[in-house]
Subunit: 163 residues, 2 copies
C-alpha cells in the first residue's frame, strides 16, 4: 500500500541519513522525499511517500519514533489529507508545438515561468492525478527536463488525530 509519512526531526543533517537508512536497510524504495525547515528553525519536516507491506511500515514507524532526534511521526495513510506536488517542466515550444503547449497550460492552470525561442519552463502544482495527466499530454510535445518536488502533504483539520 502507498503510505505518505511526515516526520519532524531535529534540524541536523545526519538525521536525514538515519531516517533514510531505516527504510533502505529493509529494502524499501522511497518514491519521493522532501525535507525543509518548519516554523521552528530547529525542526525540519520530512515528507515521504513509500510503498510496501503495511505491517513492515508500521514497524519502521515505531523505530522512527524511538530515534532520538525524531520529534513526531505521522502516517497520513489512514486519514483524510491534502497532497500536492510542484513540478517544473522544460518543454519544446517551437512553431510546431507552441500553440498546443499554451492551450494545455491554460486548461491545467499552470504558469509559464521562462521562455526561450524554442522552449518553455512550466510550473505546475497539483495532486498526483493532475500532475500525471498533464505530463502525459505534454510528453508528445517533447519534454526536455523535469524537476519534481515529490509529494507535500497535510492532514485535513477535521481528520487530524492530534486535535
Amino acid at each position: 500500500m502507498r503510505h505518505t509519512i511526515a516526520v519532524w526531526v531535529q534540524n541536523e543533517f545526519g538525521v536525514l541519513t538515519r531516517v533514510a537508512n531505516l527504510f533502505s536497510g529493509r529494502g524499501f524504495n522511497i518514491e519521493s522525499l522532501c525535507v525543509a525547515p518548519t516554523e521552528d528553525p530547529e525542526i525540519s519536516r520530512i515528507t515521504m511517500v513509500t510503498r510496501g507491506d503495511d505491517a513492515v511500515i508500521d514497524q519502521i514507524i515505531k523505530q522512527l519514533r524511538r530515534l532520538l532526534p525524531v520529534h513526531r511521526v505521522e502516517d497520513m495513510t489512514g486519514f483524510a489529507h491534502v497532497e500536492r506536488e510542484l513540478v517544473l517542466v522544460k518543454v519544446r515550444a517551437d512553431d510546431e508545438t507552441r500553440t498546443e503547449v499554451t492551450r494545455l497550460v491554460e486548461i491545467f492552470r499552470c504558469k509559464i515561468i521562462d521562455a526561450s525561442h524554442d522552449t518553455f519552463v512550466i510550473e505546475v502544482t497539483g495532486d498526483a492525478g493532475k500532475i500525471e495527466a498533464f505530463l502525459n499530454l505534454l510528453k508528445p510535445m517533447g519534454i526536455k527536463e523535469i524537476a519534481r518536488s515529490g509529494a507535500v502533504a497535510m492532514v485535513r483539520t477535521a481528520a487530524d488525530p492530534d486535535l
Copy 2:
C-alpha cells in the same frame, strides 16, 4: 554562499544516503532537499540547497561525480535559473482572522485547498522571497502547521551549460 545543486542518480534508495553523507560528513547543513522520479523511471533527481565555503562545495561536487550511481551533477549557482517552492500552511481562520487571511490569499494568488470551521489549508508556490513575505504576513494570524517542499530549480534554457 548559497548553492542550489541538482543531482541525477540511479533510482535506488541507498543512493540518497550516500549523497547526503558526503555533505553531512563534512559538517555541511542542507537547508532543503527533495528527491523524486524523472521522465526516466530508473533515474531520480535530487535538488538541494546548501550554504558554505565555495571551494569545499566544489570538492564535494567532484566527489559526487565519482559516486557510481550518480549520473550528473549541476551546480546552478553560477547560472541563471528559476527556483520555486511549494508550501502548504494550516492557518487559523476564525471570525477574527478569516477576512484578512482571504485577502492575503488573493494578493499572493494562493489557493485555499481545505477549510474547517476555524482553519484554512493554503497552497502557495513561489520563489524564496514570495514565500518568506507571505509566511511573515500570515504569522500574526496564527500558523498551526507548515509543510514545505524545499526549492525545486531548473537552469534557464538560454543559460544552460549543456546546450
